[in-house]
């Protein structure tokens, strides 16, 4: 364990002996379709320490949702091919028994989707549905107990108690999303995942919900993953960011580093797609081209066909994720980080907290 590398300010990760709360190790997910296997997630390594907030960004179709769905084991079994390991608090998520998974879902890891509100039944009052959902995981709970808990959470997410007596169609999109966030917090999970949870909302509502999420993280000591295509959401709310493209991780690091001084050409392109709100107006360029066909990905770096900085080697060899220092110099490249002992795995890199990882030949990625 390279404990000396840890530059964390929070003491939470001490509890788990310095191990990340969530470790995704060499995870690949493919969807079987009539015309071939869609490689939606391709050899992803990612870890998240307790108390961190991680943003996963990338354009649509880059596999963000697939990645978080596999963390919850919510993918359709018959149509997906999943390899690799997901360790949550030492539990092997992909292989643990069904009952254990049912316990972990919602109680330890919960998720809020963009369309979560659609899952509420239109013909039942919010209160009836909240009660039902609560009872699924706490069958013995009394009505008063549930009401007290729910009202507390409603207060936390800025909802008036009156909402309980309304039907879903009487609520606005923002209010519904708040109900869903409150529901996801019912059992004080260790990890909450927001998959485009604020994407469909108005600026003001989104701003308010993001502020609430940040407050919750502080007050309830939540660990969160925010999945979005909008880097400004991540810039506002997260400590760390993972940039994903076509199923692979391009760059992972602290928000202040990755979004301010990006190293990976894809990250640079993505950031340059968002015009700044203030300051001088610079011409934004975006990234010409489109996502490759994930059924037949190009050899080498998956971003090479669109990369303005591509080298010759890029079309031949896939770059290896490498830990780099702040100035972009590669180092630590032959340090092997702690193996996932509990799963009996060897030689799997788990970068230390705060590490900046880049998968690009320009930054030592050709070191196989």
């Amino acid at each position: 364990m390279v404990a000396t590398q840890q530059t964390n300010e929070n003491n939470q990760c001490e509890e788990s002996g310095g191990r990340p709360l969530l470790e995704i190790l060499d995870l690949s997910v493919g969807y079987e379709t009539g015309s071939g296997l869609v490689r939606a997630v391709d050899h992803v390594d990612l870890s998240l320490y307790a108390g961190e907030s991680l943003g996963i960004v990338g354009e649509s179709g880059s596999g963000k949702s697939t990645l978080v769905m596999s963390v919850l084991r919510l993918l359709p079994l018959d149509k997906t091919v999943v390899t690799g390991t997901v360790l949550f608090n030492g539990v092997d998520i992909l292989r643990c028994p069904q009952q254990e998974m049912a316990r972990i879902r919602w109680k330890e890891i919960s998720i809020v989707f963009q369309k979560s509100m659609n899952s509420l039944s239109p013909v039942h009052k919010v209160w009836e549905q909240v009660e039902d959902i609560y009872r699924v995981h706490a069958p013995g709970a009394s009505k008063d107990e549930i009401r007290e808990r729910i009202l507390h959470l409603f207060n936390v997410v800025n909802l008036s108690p009156r909402v309980l007596e309304l039907y879903p169609h009487e609520l606005s999109g923002g209010m519904l999303q708040r109900v869903c966030i409150a529901l996801s917090l019912v059992h004080l999970p260790k990890l909450v995942i927001f998959d485009e949870a604020t994407t469909a909302l108005d600026v003001i509502t989104q701003g308010q919900i993001l502020d609430e999420v940040m407050r919750l993280e502080r007050e309830l000591k939540l660990t969160s993953i925010i999945v979005t295509h909008d880097i400004s959401v991540v810039a506002k709310t997260c400590k760390r960011v993972a940039v994903m493209y076509a199923g692979r991780l391009m760059e992972v690091g602290d928000v202040g580093t990755v979004l301010v001084e990006p190293l990976h050409p894809y990250t640079k392109g993505l950031i340059s797609s968002f015009p700044p709100l203030t300051g001088t107006r610079k011409k934004i360029t975006g990234i010409p081209g489109a996502l490759p066909d994930l059924k037949a990905p190009p050899p080498g770096c998956i971003f090479a066909p669109r990369c303005p900085e591509a080298l010759k080697v890029c079309k031949e060899k896939s770059p290896v994720p490498t830990v780099v220092s702040r100035d972009g110099e590669e180092h630590l490249k032959d340090v092997k980080f702690g193996p996932g002992e509990s799963a009996g795995l060897r030689n799997i890199q788990v970068p230390p907290i705060g590490a900046h990882v880049v998968a690009c030949h320009k930054y030592g990625g050709d070191d196989a």
Binding site: M175, D202, V203, I204, I231, P276, L277, R281
Partner: protein, 341 residues
């Protein structure tokens, strides 16, 4: 500014479009008996008295929350809805009577680019047919081959090269970004006076948005077409616009130079809107101004300031009368009791 009642109006130099007190009220419920239709019923006041004018080559951004009437205003401008009050003038010509008298002439002046590029074109028509149809309707080009030539040129100009690659493809064979480009090309083939772009990038992948925005910018520069750019994305709107209008419940509450509005917003609503908009630069993190409540629906709002129920600066006055226009100079107008001249 009030409706003059005549069908023409003196125009300022280079003014291509002006909207005077335009309104679109939808009856809130289907009225079975048309009794009291004049003033008794309830109305959804989607657009409720909007004034602005647009100069040649100018890009006006329109921002505001969902349901505040942006799209309805866009539809009024291109004649997809008929205003229930007020007048729109194209270079001094009254638009509604033009639409009634010579629909084709109207259509040539006002074009629109829609939000959803995947549904903008008939799936059964190929790009060649999609682009040559408006030319045929308006009698541009004397033969099919000449029209095809015009289409090719327009495609290439818009960066869809080589044009022949695209002409015989069907919409489902193009990406969202390419389709949106074709949509812009089609609108521009008619050399309109102005173009309404209703959230033209919100359904596109983030990485290709810049491309469409730059295409619109280039177009307004080259052909001096005025553009009304509707969006809920404030930074994108600032990027593309010369001026920005902020709408709330069917009315413009603040309008002015784009940078001025973003850096010195005066209306409480604009301030809340901008402060809650996250910046892509983590160093610019700031706390959003909290405002209470959800955006209400525009069913008979008023009589006071429409924003009063959610405003953090409300005073007694706000509840009784709708604020008058306050001119802050340099074309910066605000409608708020608490803003001093």
């Amino acid at each position: 500014m009030s409706g003059t009642g005549t069908s023409s109006r003196p125009t300022g130099h280079e003014e291509v479009l002006s909207a005077v007190e335009i309104q679109k009220w939808y009856p809130a419920r289907r009225q079975i008996l048309r009794l009291g239709h004049k003033d008794g019923g309830t109305f959804v006041k989607a657009v409720d008295g909007v004034n602005f004018s647009l100069r040649k080559g100018e890009i006006l951004g329109v921002i505001g929350e969902s349901g505040c009437g942006k799209s309805t205003m866009g539809k009024l401008l291109v004649g997809l809805e008929v205003p229930t009050g007020g007048k729109i003038y194209f270079q001094g010509q009254e638009a509604t009577s033009l639409l009634k008298g010579d629909a084709k002439a109207f259509r040539r002046k006002a074009q629109i680019v829609f939000q959803n590029p995947f549904d903008t074109f008939d799936p059964r028509h190929n790009i060649a047919s999609i682009l040559s149809t408006p030319l045929k309707i308006h009698g541009i080009g004397s033969s099919d081959s000449e029209r095809k030539e015009i289409c090719c040129q327009a495609l290439e100009q818009a960066g869809l090269r080589p044009a022949r690659e695209y002409l015989f493809r069907f919409p489902h064979e193009l990406s969202g970004g390419q389709l949106q480009r074709v949509s812009i090309v089609r609108a521009m083939l008619l050399k309109p006076l102005f173009l309404v772009a209703d959230e033209p990038v919100s359904m596109l992948d983030v990485s290709v948005r810049a491309d469409i925005l730059n295409a619109l910018l280039q177009l307004s520069e080259e052909s001096s077409t005025a553009i009304v750019f509707i969006s809920h994305d404030i930074s994108v709107t600032r990027y593309i616009s010369h001026r920005i209008a902020v709408m709330y419940l069917g009315r413009i509450v603040e309008i002015g130079d784009a940078d001025e509005i973003i850096s010195h917003p005066c209306h409480p609503y604009t301030r809340a809107l901008i402060s809650n908009f996250p910046s892509a630069d983590p160093r610019e993190a700031r706390e959003g101004i909290q405002i209470q409540g959800e955006p209400p629906t525009p069913v008979n709002p008023g009589p006071g300031c429409y924003f009063a129920p959610r405003c953090f600066m409300t005073s007694e006055e706000c509840l009784h009368s709708y604020p008058e226009e306050v001119d802050l100079g340099g074309g910066h107008l605000v409608w708020c009791h608490m803003v001093q001249r």
